[in-house]
């Protein structure tokens, strides 16, 4: 069982124009920096990107926005960068805004083999338009569908050749669910460890979901809001 590929370029080699890609991360926390750079280098176009946010100018998905590779974003909160706003207002970019919990659960359900589910989020609002409403125990719920992707790309802290993944602190966010929702799942890790080095009790994503894994490099880990206390 060896899912190791050489690098990001190899890992994303078959991502073609028009692909639907999920990318883990919350803001800039836990984003797959190596694969984003490789996608920019490969210059694949017309991508649909499913990611909670859209990066900032010059970093994260902001890189692929700047190079005009993204056709559509599916996110809960966007617009932390000027280029995003410009493209959206010019009609150059499509955006599907999805409540964060609904987005997370749609992705999670894809990985669980459940095609649809009911959530109260958004009932009575404009996002309910066209969605089936059901009442359970007197409360209104919207039907939402599982969300799959051609490729899921996540970044973990540690991983092994079998694709088992371990995350650090708040980098787990959307990544653990996305890893299970891709037809092909690519994991880049800060540290690739030998098979058996990860404690089976500690693994966050089982290797069965992961198809390709590589050790990334040059992680910048930019911080969006550097808040400190003065002691």
């Amino acid at each position: 069982m060896n899912k190791i590929v050489a690098d990001a370029t190899t890992a994303i080699h078959d991502i073609q124009d028009g692909a639907t890609i999920m990318l883990g991360g919350f803001g800039l926390c836990g984003i797959p920096e190596n694969c984003i750079r490789a996608l920019a280098d490969k210059n694949v176009k017309e991508l649909t990107c499913i990611s909670n946010n859209a990066g900032v100018d010059e970093f994260g998905l902001g890189i692929l926005l700047k190079t005009r590779q993204i056709k559509k974003m599916m996110s809960s909160y966007v617009g932390e960068n000027a280029e995003f706003e410009r493209q959206l207002l010019n009609g150059e970019l499509e955006v599907d805004l999805i409540p964060q919990g609904t987005l997370a659960t749609r992705i999670q359900m894809a990985g669980m083999g459940i095609p649809a589910f009911f959530t109260p989020a958004g009932y009575g609002t404009e996002i309910a338009q066209g969605k089936e409403v059901r009442v359970f125990n007197g409360k209104h719920y919207l039907m939402e569908h599982a969300l799959h992707a051609d490729f899921a790309i996540v970044k973990a802290w540690k991983g092994d050749p079998a694709g088992n993944l371990l995350f650090r602190k708040t980098t787990r966010n959307f990544s653990t669910s996305m890893a299970k929702a891709g037809t092909i799942t690519i994991a880049e890790v800060e540290e690739l460890v030998p098979l058996g080095a990860l404690d089976p009790d500690q693994i966050h994503v089982a290797g069965i979901y992961v198809h390709r894994i590589f050790q990334g490099n040059q992680y910048e880990k930019r911080i969006e809001k550097r808040t400190v206390q003065i002691k």
């Binding site: 919350f26 805004l97 989020a121 809001k225």
Partner: protein, 219 residues
């Protein structure tokens, strides 16, 4: 005199009870964490996947892998837990979070809330707000009573696109503490020190009932 944003946060902090799990939104709600009353222990939940949010880090403690839902660097405290977004919203939907405090652009006398979109302006998205308001057991809105134009934000009906319907239980502004009773309206429970009932009435466009035991806030 009307409260400032710190005063609003201090008043909201009085709503906290020992043992509560609490989600604080961005802005004034985040400030509430600075005024948790003595002798009370609460756990703050952040929807990006953390329970037990500690204070901001020192320069030496900063960790890019450790942020809150406002994307600010934070720290852990004894008892902190990390999880993923799907589980985080599971907690929220299942009603495990006892109190949600968030900001708003408008609140209606029915408890509807609008806080994510101004049509024809840049729309950044709802983030987790729709999930939170649809499921939280107890929602307190922290906001200024009027918008920058001086218009009331407490209305008969929201005019902006809704975030959720019939969900807000209490509104705390620089002028007043108001409860919402569906079918009745805003119930004025407390006024800020030096603020008259008349001023609150003038600045509340939605139906306002003055509680018979209305009193002055203690800050």
């Amino acid at each position: 005199m009307a409260l400032d944003k710190y005063g609003i946060a201090k008043r909201i902090a009085q709503e906290l009870q020992d043992g509560m799990y609490i989600n604080l939104g961005i802005g004034i709600p985040t400030l509430v964490a600075n005024y948790i009353p003595e002798g009370i222990s609460v756990m703050l939940q952040s929807e990006n996947g953390m329970l037990g949010i500690g204070p901001y880090p020192t320069e030496e403690e900063i960790d890019a892998d450790l942020i809150n839902a406002g994307k600010e660097t934070v720290t852990v405290i004894p008892g902190s837990v990390f999880f993923d977004s799907a589980e985080s919203f599971g907690m929220i939907r299942a009603g495990k979070v006892d109190l949600t405090v968030l900001g708003a652009m408008e609140v209606s006398e029915k408890g509807d809330i609008a806080n994510w979109k101004i049509p024809n302006k840049m729309v950044k998205g709802m983030g987790g707000a729709m999930d939170l308001v649809a499921s939280a057991k107890n929602i307190i809105v922290a906001m200024m009573h009027t918008n920058p134009k001086g218009e009331s934000k407490l209305l008969p009906e929201c005019t902006l696109p809704l975030t959720g319907v019939s969900c807000v239980k209490k509104v705390i502004t620089e002028l007043a503490v108001l409860e919402i009773e569906p079918g009745v309206g805003f119930i004025l429970k407390e006024t800020a020190p030096g603020v008259t009932v008349e001023e609150v009435q003038t600045k509340t466009l939605g139906k306002l009932i003055v509680s018979p035991d209305v009193k002055e806030m203690k800050i």
